[in-house]
């Protein structure tokens, strides 16, 4: 129960309304430091909306999202401007429909991800344009880091190719590598295994496990592929119609009647029966 003892991200009473539509309704959950947390639920349950709230693309209607940094300080993500969430709070994300810089090479994609530290070392461009300061060495280090992630995702051979030329599975891995180049504490992955074949999805599992182990990055992922969810996650949060219906270890969640009902659909009689059992 690491997510209760040492939470990295604490989401409390998160509500997001779009006009009359309540996409997320009073959602509270915690993401443990060093955990792989899966956010699952049927289509339209509001999972991506939760991601957009956490990563600053939406401002939540109500509730707070607290990020507990390793030094003990708290950052309220819903109050930060969108671009500080990655830079200050160290939360990185990938997208459900891959968003790479398709006309730029793989290496350039990973260097764009290191924009903020490079900007500092180039003296906000003023020193860099005159060739002063430590920009040269900083860029070399940035390239080394990019090389490391390209090797890790087995894309190093195509480092000088445009990202748009890559096959689908490679693009997914490149997006993860790009997000990791920002040195995140929390990496949010929106359906990383979508469209991958079983071999690729196994490879993805290993990549995610090694990210957690070697880099101390906690992961929050939305996933429909249960082989990924059940194998690697420590903690599963289940959403349905914007409400949390289950929260626990994968084995607990798997046997939860409400989760089964949400996923499989049941007769009205059975719903009453289940409701009677769990006492709603």
């Amino acid at each position: 129960m690491r997510w209760i003892q040492d939470p990295l991200l604490d989401v409390q009473h998160l509500t997001m309304r779009f006009g009359g539509l309540v996409a997320i309704n009073d959602l509270s959950f915690k993401v443990g430091r060093g955990d792989i947390t899966a956010l699952i639920g049927p289509n339209g349950a509001g999972k991506t909306t939760v991601f957009n709230c956490i990563t600053g693309f939406y401002k939540p209607t109500e509730g707070l999202i607290a990020m507990r940094k390793p030094d003990g300080s708290n950052l309220l993500l819903e109050r930060l401007p969108g671009n500080s969430i990655n830079w200050k709070a160290k939360v990185a994300r990938t997208f459900q429909n891959i968003r790479l810089f398709s006309g730029m090479t793989l290496l350039e994609n990973l260097l764009v991800a290191q924009h903020n530290p490079l900007m500092l070392s180039s003296g906000y461009t003023f020193l860099g344009i005159l060739g002063l300061g430590g920009y040269r060495t900083a860029e070399k280090e940035a390239i080394e880091k990019a090389k490391f992630w390209l090797e890790k995702t087995r894309l190093i051979d195509r480092a000088d190719d445009p990202a748009g030329d890559l096959p689908y599975g490679d693009q997914r891995r490149l997006e993860i590598a790009r997000a990791m180049c920002t040195d995140p504490l929390l990496l949010c992955l929106d359906e990383p295994a979508a469209g991958l074949n079983p071999r690729e999805s196994l490879e993805l599992n290993n990549l995610l496990l090694s990210i957690r182990k070697d880099h101390g990055t906690s992961l929050l992922l939305i996933e429909h592929d249960m082989s990924v969810v059940m194998e690697i996650s420590d903690h599963v949060v289940v959403l349905d119609y914007g409400t949390k219906i289950a929260d626990g270890t994968p084995s607990e969640v798997k046997s939860d009647p409400r989760v089964i009902a949400a996923y499989l659909g049941v007769d009205d009689e059975e719903v009453e029966q289940v409701e009677a059992e769990i006492g709603v």
Binding site: T55, G56, F57, G82, N83, S84, I85, N86, W87, A92, R93, F95, R99, L100, F101, S102, G103, M104, T105, L107, E108, L111, V112, A113, Q114, H115, N116, L118, M119, S122, T125, G128, I129, Y135, E139, I143, K147, I156, A159, D160, D161, P162, G164, D165, R178, A179, T182
Partner: protein, 471 residues
């Protein structure tokens, strides 16, 4: 249910409908000729002739017949062309779909290694070359002036290339910054007597400042909306220049702007002038040649700074912004700042070019900064290939130099008769050229993007992968 075997179906008959069908083509040709005939009757068939007070119709059925036959022939040719094209496209080449697309450098890229030093050499030696061809300083005046004009547009194109080509923000009001630069120099020098070399950076800074002012309201806009607001901004600046008569002298403009000096030495014939100090015989062309090298230096500075910025984080952020703004935000890039720097730096170079314009002309008026100027600069960037420096330079030479060259094509009179004035067909040919460009190279002369950083080998990135930005 037995589905037809897929493998044999394709082997049977190679794509029949793509073959050239002569009877159908003739039928269609006749139809088109008939339409032509119908249109000809009210337009071409009769000509009114006048002699004194009399007015009568003279029939021209011969001309009508010739034109109808021409249309018939062209229509059949078009059919034949389309049929061969369709057939070629229907037969896939063996490379297609089996190999992944290599981003091989194309002919332009291969030649650019030699072309860039060549162009640079020609640009540097241009006044000398013209001097020897024309055989005298005064005779070469027209050509050096043309060189200055082209280089001004090269510089403006490179400046706008930062905003449109790199950052992907469509700016239809770029001429506003050109105007700000020109009026900055005109007003500062006539009012405070500041020299050109002090006014040049000031004009750049002021134009950059106006770039930021334009940047703020358009931060949230994209596509057509961005284009409209920038267009309006350009017009607002021009209208302010016309109507703020106290400051700008209105439509009459500002005249007798101090001329450029050779770092303090005026180009005059008297004591202490440029010619006397260097022991030369006084000639008005000294100033023109100096202006030529001045604009060449300014243009090269623009190019150098842009090339440098592309390799810095801010330049990569511009290109990333053009590719995908949302991904930029998710990576912690402050897109507001990125957009504002693109507007400000692009505007700054426009301001430099503007103050050069003022010092060259010695006179500025709002008429020089109308929408057509913006359109030409944008056309240079788009035709050159967005983001490509050398492409923009070539496009500037073609678009600005081309019409001037046309003026001198007197040999065409031998072909079309002595009444033929090529100058009258300038805009027609210009338009036809643009349409042809957009058909054959829709993404500009040089559409390939060159990566800013490489690990092992430099590969050009095909233009089809590079996005145009949000507008």
């Amino acid at each position: 249910m037995n589905a037809p075997p897929i493998t044999t179906a394709s082997a049977e008959s190679p794509a029949l409908p793509n073959r050239f069908d002569l009877t159908a083509a003739i039928k269609d040709g006749l139809k088109t000729a008939l339409i032509m005939l119908g249109l000809s009757i009210p337009i071409l068939a009769y000509k009114t002739d006048q002699s004194g007070g009399d007015l009568w119709l003279s029939p021209r059925w011969g001309l009508v017949a010739i034109l109808c036959a021409l249309v018939f022939g062209l229509r059949i040719l078009l059919h034949a062309f389309m049929a061969t094209k369709a057939a070629r496209e229907a037969t896939p080449s063996p490379h297609q779909a089996t190999e992944f697309v290599h981003a091989e450098p194309n002919a332009f890229q291969k030649t650019s290694r030699f072309a860039i030093p060549f162009f640079l050499g020609v640009a540097l030696a241009f006044p000398v070359i013209i001097y020897f061809i024309q055989g005298g300083l005064n005779e070469s005046r027209y050509w050096v002036d043309l060189g200055i004009l082209i280089l001004t547009y090269v510089m403006l194109g490179w400046g706008l290339n930062i905003v449109v080509g790199l950052a992907g923000l469509l700016d239809l009001g770029y001429v506003a910054f050109y105007a700000v630069g020109a009026y900055s120099y005109a007003l500062l020098s006539t009012t405070f007597g500041l020299s050109f070399w002090i006014c040049l950076p000031l004009a750049g800074i002021l134009a950059g400042f106006w770039g930021m002012i334009l940047g703020f309201p358009v931060l949230r806009l994209r596509g057509d909306y961005l284009a409209i607001v920038t267009l309006a901004f350009g017009e607002i600046i021009r209208l302010v220049l016309i109507n703020w008569t106290d400051l700008t002298n209105g439509g009459a403009g500002i005249s007798s702007i101090p001329r450029a000096t050779f770092f303090g030495l005026p180009f005059t014939s008297g004591e202490g002038g440029f010619a006397q100090t260097f022991g030369l015989e006084f000639n008005g062309m000294h100033r023109i040649i100096f202006l030529y090298y001045l604009i060449l230096a300014l243009a090269l500075l623009t190019n150098f700074v842009t090339m440098r910025l592309r390799k810095l984080p801010v330049g990569r952020a511009w290109e990333a912004l053009r590719e995908d703004e949302i991904a930029c935000r998710s990576l912690g890039i402050n897109t507001t700042n990125v957009k504002l720097t693109a507007f400000a730096i692009g505007a700054m170079f426009g301001g430099f070019a503007g103050s050069f314009f003022a010092v060259r002309q010695g006179f500025v008026s709002p008429e020089s900064f109308n929408f057509l100027e913006s359109a030409i600069i944008l056309a240079i960037v788009v035709l050159g290939g967005m983001g490509s420096q050398i492409g923009v330079a070539i496009a500037a030479i073609v678009l600005v130099g081309g019409p001037e060259i046309l003026r001198n094509l007197t040999f065409l009179q031998a072909v079309f008769g002595s009444g033929f004035d090529p100058n009258e067909y300038r805009l027609l040919l210009f338009g036809a050229g643009m349409v042809a460009m957009m058909v054959w190279r829709p993404r500009g002369l040089i559409s390939e993007r060159s990566p800013t950083v490489i690990l092992k080998e430099r590969k050009a990135i095909s233009g089809s992968l590079v996005k145009e930005g949000h507008g």
